[in-house]
């Protein structure tokens, strides 16, 4: 009983509970026959939100006002550049990955340069950068869908022991992110900066360095997600990232990460990403339209933040 009480106080519980309820409601439609397929699909598609969400979580952990709106266009540009470089050639997989990563680093550097040097609020700085990055994506190959190398296409769509490969990658990244946050000095630093910048400064933490690296990390994860998504869906499309703008913020918030910064939560992102996929599936399964679906999503976000995040004055 004590244990139960303790778990219910964990911020990630809410997203996991919500995901489970929705999963259950969906499989009940077919009397449980769809359990395996639905779970597998959920894991596959949640994987992309998880990768992007983790990056966004690191940025949001930096404290109020920190947010990266350039995630979608970074995904698009990284996917486009990588597929263009690889030209369906299996031998070019690694260079493709490298170019995607370099794209991420570049976007992250520009983001933080604007925030720091021009003192533009992150929300506007990253938005401006996203426009420029989007233009760069259009300019590079004008929206042609180049196919991914066959090995990558097969790899991203295949399963290992019934678990989708992309979900395994997301798991590896999650473990890495969790390790960074919980076990390393860098994790302590971002959490400290997010709780109080002046206190972090006085504790001798290199505040700017920490924030700089975090913005880069977020952009690199977005690039990686773009690379994988482009391979998974058979080519980079100019609009392939747009879904992940609100998604990346929503999974972080629903996952129990404090919007006021300082407190991040990797397991919560899994719950929230699964939930975001499953809730659409459920509402589609029940034949509900786009309108109801949006309203429910909004109400759920507000309820979760009220239950988990609010504190009385």
């Amino acid at each position: 009983m004590r244990m139960l009480g303790r778990i219910s106080r964990k911020p990630w519980m809410w997203s996991w509970t919500a995901a489970f309820v929705v999963w259950f409601a969906t499989i009940m439609v077919t009397g449980g026959a769809s359990t395996f397929d639905l779970s597998q699909a959920a894991l596959t598609f949640a994987a992309f939100s998880i990768i992007v969400g983790i990056g966004q979580m690191f940025v949001i952990t930096l404290g109020p006002g920190n947010i990266d709106l350039s995630v979608p266009s970074t995904m698009t540009l990284a996917g486009t550049l990588a597929l263009k470089l690889m030209e369906v050639d299996n031998a070019m997989i690694v260079p493709g990955l490298v170019i995607a990563m370099i794209t991420g680093v570049g976007v992250g550097v520009v983001n933080y340069a604007l925030i720091k040097a021009l003192r533009i609020p992150p929300i506007i700085a990253t938005l401006s950068v996203s426009f420029i990055v989007q233009s760069a994506a259009i300019w590079t190959n004008r929206g042609l869908r180049i196919k991914p190398p066959s090995f990558l296409a097969d790899f991203t769509t295949a399963n290992t022991l019934g678990v989708p490969n992309v979900a395994i990658i997301a798991l590896v990244i999650s473990v890495f992110a969790w390790f960074l946050l919980e076990k390393t000095i860098y994790g302590r630093w971002i959490s400290a900066v997010g709780q109080s910048m002046p206190a972090a400064k006085m504790a001798g933490i290199p505040v700017d360095g920490t924030r700089f690296v975090t913005y880069i990390f977020c952009a690199v994860l977005a690039s990686l997600a773009g690379y994988l998504l482009a391979c998974f869906s058979g080519g980079a499309a100019l609009n392939m990232g747009s879904e992940y703008l609100l998604m990346s913020i929503a999974v972080v918030v629903l996952g129990g990460t404090a919007v006021a910064g300082g407190d991040s939560n990797v397991p919560g992102i899994w719950g929230a990403s699964l939930f975001m996929f499953l809730v659409v599936s459920m509402l589609n399964t029940y034949g509900l339209g786009a309108g109801i679906r949006l309203i429910m999503t909004g109400l759920i976000i507000i309820s979760v933040i009220m239950l988990a995040g609010g504190r009385a004055r």
Binding site: I185, R188, G204, I205
Partner: protein
């Protein structure tokens, strides 16, 4: 008569004759913030036509009693009556309706609004069409009365005014009359940013106001002002009133004596050491005397609170740290006094709050060595007696004093050769203080330098050398035997006394 029009209640007060009742009376008020007893049974009555001067050391509870009288803080125990009737539900609204006004210690105007607009905020019933004109009249009249020739344009925003001008506006605002006339005006360190001329203008007005039957509570660290203006002086110490006499019965010396800390045992006094040959490890040149600290030295920063000591510490810190790259070997460590602002990380456990300062030593290729971290924390928990069952508890579960100890341990456990301390002993109990003093003494002996700002005289007297601050600059340097309470107070108050 002009005077009667200015102070409309004066006739009413005199009509009641000798049977004067207190405007506000606080009986046996107790307030505590966690473990800190800010008020420990305070009884205070303010009569019409008197100016009560309140003095006491930093943190004595002066501002807290002000908040109680002002209605902003409900005491956890005790009751409040006004004009002879006991008020069960006393609050800001009730207090204001009874003519209680307050000038707070910290800026309490909205910096983004103009002087006129701030007047509007303060006077709730100034509204209606054309309020701007009325508000302007109200505040300008009051400013003219209190500070003739002030030269403040009332349609400038407060953020653009100088500190002194802001303080003038706040004071004038408290004395202004827009419907409900002020009867009791509380001034919490109102002259801290005014020069002698302006302060004298204000004090003159306070005297006239009191003569006309108004009441004032006047808090100041500048004893001269209190002695010349107050009709009664109350001395507070550790949340209690320890003396309450008519002001003619006080002298500057007796006030200092009654608020001064316990006479320190000679045991605390550190042996005079010869540091002439030690190398200088930190140096800062600013307005006033230059600042220097030598290896193994304990340098005190003294003077009244808020006269630039903290800023100096921040500057020393900024000069030795980088915002972009972590230094391999930290050269300074910092103990915060303002815990909330730049000390604790509220979401974290005690353990993490402790170790963040010395993580460099506790990590192996960037990975935190949890066992070593725990070992060191446990060691320090024992050494300075942090009262908690579990170091994994949240830092906020600790009492303020214990939080402060954690911050202390954070800095002392680093290998930095210089430790900057910003009044680090707030809320730390006596026994622990002695232990910390002992640690400081040992570490100084083994070559560590301490720069120590303290508002507690006892601590300042432990230093090898003391810089006294006034108005953002170092005005005096005391060394060895010259470091005495009397000397420091004398230098600190010199500006005001002149």
């Amino acid at each position: 008569m002009v005077r009667a029009a200015k102070f409309p209640w004066s006739t009413a007060a005199s009509m009641t004759g000798d049977t004067l009742t207190a405007i506000v009376e606080v009986a046996d008020a107790k307030v505590s913030f966690g473990a800190v007893k800010a008020l420990d049974g305070v009884t205070l009555a303010i009569m019409p036509g008197e100016c009560v001067g309140v003095v006491g050391h930093n943190g004595a509870g002066k501002s807290t009693i002000v908040s109680v009288i002002n209605g902003g803080l409900t005491p956890h125990q005790g009751n409040i009556s006004s004009d002879g009737e006991r008020l069960a539900r006393y609050g800001i609204g009730v207090a204001r309706a009874r003519g209680v006004r307050c000038v707070f210690q910290e800026l309490s105007l909205c910096p983004n609004l103009t002087v006129i607009e701030n007047t509007r905020i303060l006077h709730r019933d100034l509204g209606g069409f054309g309020w701007r004109k009325r508000a302007r009249k109200v505040i300008e009249r009051s400013l003219d009365l209190v500070f003739p020739g002030h030269g403040i344009e009332s349609d400038r925003s407060v953020g653009e005014l100088s500190i002194a001008e802001r303080q003038m506006v706040e004071i004038a605002m408290a004395f202004s009359d827009a419907g409900v006339a002020p009867r009791l005006v509380i001034l919490d360190e109102p002259t801290s940013s005014l020069d002698a001329g302006l302060a004298e203008q204000m004090l003159g007005y306070v005297r006239r106001f009191v003569d006309a039957g108004g009441s004032v509570i006047f808090i100041s660290h500048i004893l001269n002002e209190i002695l010349t203006t107050a009709s009664r002086i109350v001395v507070m110490k550790d949340g209690r009133i320890v003396a309450d006499r008519r002001s003619i019965d006080w002298t500057e010396h007796s006030v200092v004596e009654s608020m001064g800390s316990v006479a320190k045992g000679e045991a605390n006094r550190r042996a005079v050491r010869d540091l002439a040959g030690a190398p200088v490890v930190v140096e800062q040149i600013g307005p006033g005397l230059p600042f220097r600290a030598k290896r193994g030295e304990v340098v005190g920063l003294a003077g009244l609170a808020g006269h630039g000591q903290t800023r100096m510490l921040m500057k020393l810190h900024a000069a030795e740290t980088s915002d972009w790259l972590a230094r391999r070997e930290a050269t300074v460590a910092f103990v915060a006094g303002d815990r909330r602002l730049n000390g604790v990380f509220e979401l974290w456990s005690i353990l993490k709050n402790f170790s963040i300062g010395s993580l460099g030593d506790l990590t192996n290729r960037g990975v935190v060595d949890v066992a070593a971290e725990m070992e060191r924390a446990t060691d320090w928990k024992r050494r300075i007696d942090i009262r908690t069952q579990d170091l994994a508890n949240r830092i906020l579960s600790l009492s303020g004093g214990n939080q402060q100890k954690v911050l202390f341990a954070r800095a002392l456990s680093t290998r930095a050769p210089v430790v900057l301390m910003d009044d680090p002993m707030r809320g730390v109990d006596v026994g622990t203080k002695q232990e910390v003093y002992e640690i400081i003494r040992q570490q100084a002996a083994s070559g560590r330098t301490f720069v120590w700002y303290s508002t507690e005289m006892e601590e300042v007297c432990l230093c090898d050398r003391v810089y006294v601050f006034r108005d953002g600059a170092i005005v005096a340097e005391l060394e060895g035997d010259a470091v005495t309470e009397g000397n420091i107070l004398a230098v600190s108050f010199r500006g005001a006394a002149a």
